[in-house]
């Protein structure tokens, strides 16, 4: 099947725009798919030939990411965000209704090749769900009426561009501002201050500020920049990690929507400090709709002399590019993110060496969170000492929290570090009783009622800032089960414990959910937790059992009341296992059935 003329010309223009450069394979694949609908075998062959890569490596990348498809998935691809917060807002019923109206099973393509409907990991719209992506454009606040209207538009084959604009409206929902969101900086102000200080002095200010990474791990930003600056290399790079994939987290989306200048300015300051000429912002595929706005901001900054050559008249050249991911949570891990930026599957590297010495293209690279880079502007403008006085001794500055779930005012809340979880709940508005708060998403910690006085700070609860709130009507087993499936879907598959373990755990949770569980299965869950926590290659596998472990300890009755018996139970329905033979023989006598409980 040779590539057709139109395919070839569309492909050639993508390849030319991306400079026939294999390290840009992610962008090549995305733009090609946007133009052609899917990535067919001959198209992959053509891309491989053009960039001079073995075809198998191109297919390896194309096959890794959820948003790339190597088979046709319909001219309309609807992906329902399936975070627990979407579930609490009724996404499953809405998706079922959509499928019924389209005469479709979830995960299947309609026979006429028109449409497919499926679920996807959290799209970062937890404060305005149920959310979905249609052809990778974010839609918020789905309702039964919107489902009906959407089905009509799909049936009529109305282009997505002509759908009602309000469906695509994404609210910022900023509820509380502190030093960062309340800043009065104008573009270039912080950068000018940084350039005036000079790179070495600016680095000192960052160290003095006590600024720590806002992605959750809390590594000292000054130390990271210094290690990168001191590392030998042909070039240095600044990478902004905007792969905000942790379910329940959406603060980077708001920063990139409303404070993009601040983020780019922070990258530029970092570039000046570490001696980089190039910065890359890795934007999660779910935020595809932000690409053009971000590129406009970049263009405006270039025009204003804040990017490009001789920035602000100084002998300092720096520019920034936005790269899009394609639906892979693991790319939030910095070395996996770098692999992805190089056109490869997002599998975390063996560390050491760390990216500060061997990062993007093997060169010294600092990878920083969106919020960290924005905060660096405050340090540049006001100085390290000023910054360090906000927050606690060990956690300087402020933290932006993404609050969702059972609160009256979900959205973005910024506080100085040290705020209690209870304070956040009070501000967000709680009706009735709160059963649990999941801090930092599935890989974080489940707090019970008696732990709400704990503080958001590196010395107590380190977090990237997600708080998902569950009131007393919620089933914490179902919360943990949702998270177990998330990890099974997002495991990169590199190491044995995570690749197979996450699926084993998800199956165990399903076994309990379908009423086949026994205490043996709970023992198995603890065993998997012990294995995966020590033996996994990266943080995903190491933390994948956290929600199960926490809920088993704090909400154990939610598991126990599901147990079928105290004896061993098979995972499958024995009577259902005879269904095909019954169908083929037409038998329905007593012997054609198996009781699921042992006959006595």
């Amino acid at each position: 099947m040779p590539a057709t003329m139109t395919t070839t010309s569309a492909l050639q223009s993508v390849l030319a725009r991306q400079g026939h450069d294999g390290t840009r394979l992610m962008q090549i694949l995305r733009e090609t798919q946007e133009a052609l609908g899917w990535l067919s075998p001959p198209v992959l062959t053509e891309i491989a030939r053009d960039i001079g890569w073995p075809r198998a490596r191109v297919e390896s990348t194309a096959g890794f990411y959820s948003f790339f498809h190597t088979r046709p998935l319909g001219r309309y691809r609807v992906l329902w965000s399936d975070n627990i917060t979407d579930r609490m807002l009724g996404n499953i019923d809405l998706m079922q209704a959509m499928c019924e109206k389209l005469w479709l099973e979830p995960g299947r393509v309609s026979e006429d090749g028109l449409v497919s409907v499926d679920t996807t990991s959290c799209t970062g719209m937890c404060d305005q769900g149920p959310a979905l992506l249609v052809n990778y454009r974010a839609v918020t606040r789905m309702t039964p009426r919107r489902v009906e209207a959407m089905v009509d538009l799909i049936r009529a084959e109305t282009p997505v561009a002509a759908w009602p604009a309000e469906w695509f409206a994404v609210e910022d929902n900023i509820r509380r501002k502190d030093i960062l969101l309340g800043n009065a900086l104008v573009p270039g102000e912080a950068l000018a201050a940084a350039l005036e200080r000079g790179a070495a002095a600016m680095l000192d200010e960052i160290k003095r500020s006590g600024l720590r990474g806002r992605g959750g791990a809390g590594f000292g930003t000054g130390l990271k920049w210094e290690a990168c600056r001191d590392a030998m290399g042909e070039a240095h790079y600044v990478i902004c990690n905007a792969d905000e994939g942790e379910p329940g987290t959406f603060k980077d989306r708001v920063l990139l929507t409303r404070y993009a200048d601040l983020v780019f300015e922070g990258m530029t300051i970092a570039g000046h400090v570490v001696g980089a000429k190039k910065g890359l912002l890795y934007l999660r595929g779910e935020y595809r709709y932000l690409l053009e706005p971000l590129e406009s901001v970049l263009a405006a900054r270039r025009a204003a002399g804040l990017l490009g050559g001789n920035i602000l008249g100084q002998p300092f050249d720096f520019d920034i590019e936005v790269h899009l991911g394609a639906g892979a949570y693991i790319c939030g891990e910095e070395s996996a993110l770098i692999e992805s930026l190089e056109g490869k599957p997002g599998r975390p590297r063996i560390r050491p060496p760390f990216p500060v010495t061997h990062g993007y293209l093997g060169q010294p690279t600092t990878v920083n969170n969106v919020e960290t880079l924005a905060a660096a502007c405050l340090v540049a403008k006001h100085g390290g000492e000023w910054y360090s006085k906000v927050g606690t001794t060990k956690s300087a500055g402020s933290k932006i929290l993404s609050v969702s779930g059972d609160v009256e005012r979900p959205g973005i809340y910024e506080y100085p570090f040290g705020v209690t979880v209870q304070q956040v709940l009070n501000d967000a508005g709680i009706e009735g009783c709160t059963q649990a708060v999941q801090v930092s998403g599935p890989s974080g910690v489940t707090l019970g009622q008696n732990e709400l006085e704990r503080r958001i700070a590196f010395e107590d609860i380190p977090t990237a800032g997600a708080l998902m709130v569950f009131d007393c009507t919620r089933d914490m087993f179902e919360v943990a089960r949702n998270f177990a499936h998330f990890f099974a879907h997002e495991s990169c598959g590199f190491c044995t414990p995570c690749r197979v373990g996450t699926t084993v755990v998800a199956r165990l949770m399903d076994k309990l959910a379908t009423g086949h569980g026994s205490p043996y299965d709970i023992d198995e869950m603890f065993k998997m937790h012990r294995l995966m926590q020590g033996a996994s290659h990266c943080g995903l596998g190491n933390s994948a059992c956290n929600p199960m472990f926490d809920t088993l300890n704090k909400f154990r009755p939610a598991y126990e009341r599901r147990l079928k018996s105290l004896d061993y139970e098979p995972a499958f329905d024995l009577d259902a296992a005879l269904s095909q033979a019954r169908q083929m023989t037409g038998r329905d006598d007593a012997a054609a059935h198996l009781a699921n409980v042992e006959e006595s």
Binding site: L574, A581, E599
Partner: protein, 181 residues
């Protein structure tokens, strides 16, 4: 050890009786064994249903409804239940049908394959046990206490395993006796 003999039951589910043959291959050691054990349900005794036993040895995986009934009977009656041989341990040869749809298999075998009589049908006599959609190793259906892999496990492996168990030791095979083939 108790003075009384241990009561032992054996059976073959979706297996080939090869493990039983290997069991008999312990040859004259059978006489030593019979000093220590007596057999309940087993191809050796022709007892049809298993009574209370100390030890049950199950060869073969679970491929049909009857296998499930027999396996449950063993689990209910045996204090210690052992998966004997590759098919009991991981489904073995019969499980190699598991990536196929049972309906396609039945149709091919009884209706569409060449050489069948005109009008051949899938048998539907209620006396026949219905096959399961997939073949399962026995530990996926009931709790299993010990596993002795091998296709078949060698007579020496079976002897070592049984003498360990009977003596109250956790069975340990070691190199040369542990085999999956």
């Amino acid at each position: 050890m108790a003075d009384r003999k241990l009561r032992v039951a054996t059976t073959s589910l979706a297996g080939c009786f090869g493990c039983h043959m290997s069991f008999l291959d312990i040859d004259e050691r059978l006489l030593d064994l019979l000093e220590l054990v007596e057999f309940d349900r087993s191809p050796i005794t022709d007892i049809k249903h298993c009574g209370p036993c100390d030890l049950g040895l199950v060869e073969g995986g679970v491929c049909n409804a009857e296998n499930v009934h027999v396996l449950r009977e063993f689990r209910k009656n045996c204090k210690i239940l052992v998966a004997l041989g590759a098919c009991a341990v991981n489904g073995g040869l019969p499980a190699q049908r598991n990536h196929l749809d049972l309906r396609d298999i039945l149709a091919a075998v009884y209706e569409t394959e060449g050489g069948l009589a005109r009008g051949a049908r899938i048998p539907n006599d209620p006396e026949l046990p219905l096959p399961l959609n997939q073949v399962h190793p026995i530990h996926e259906v009931v709790k299993i206490d010990y596993f002795l892999p091998g296709c078949p496990p060698s007579a020496d492996a079976i002897w070592k395993f049984l003498t360990d168990l009977i003596a109250g030791r956790t069975p340990h095979l070691g190199h040369g006796l542990i085999h999956y083939d």
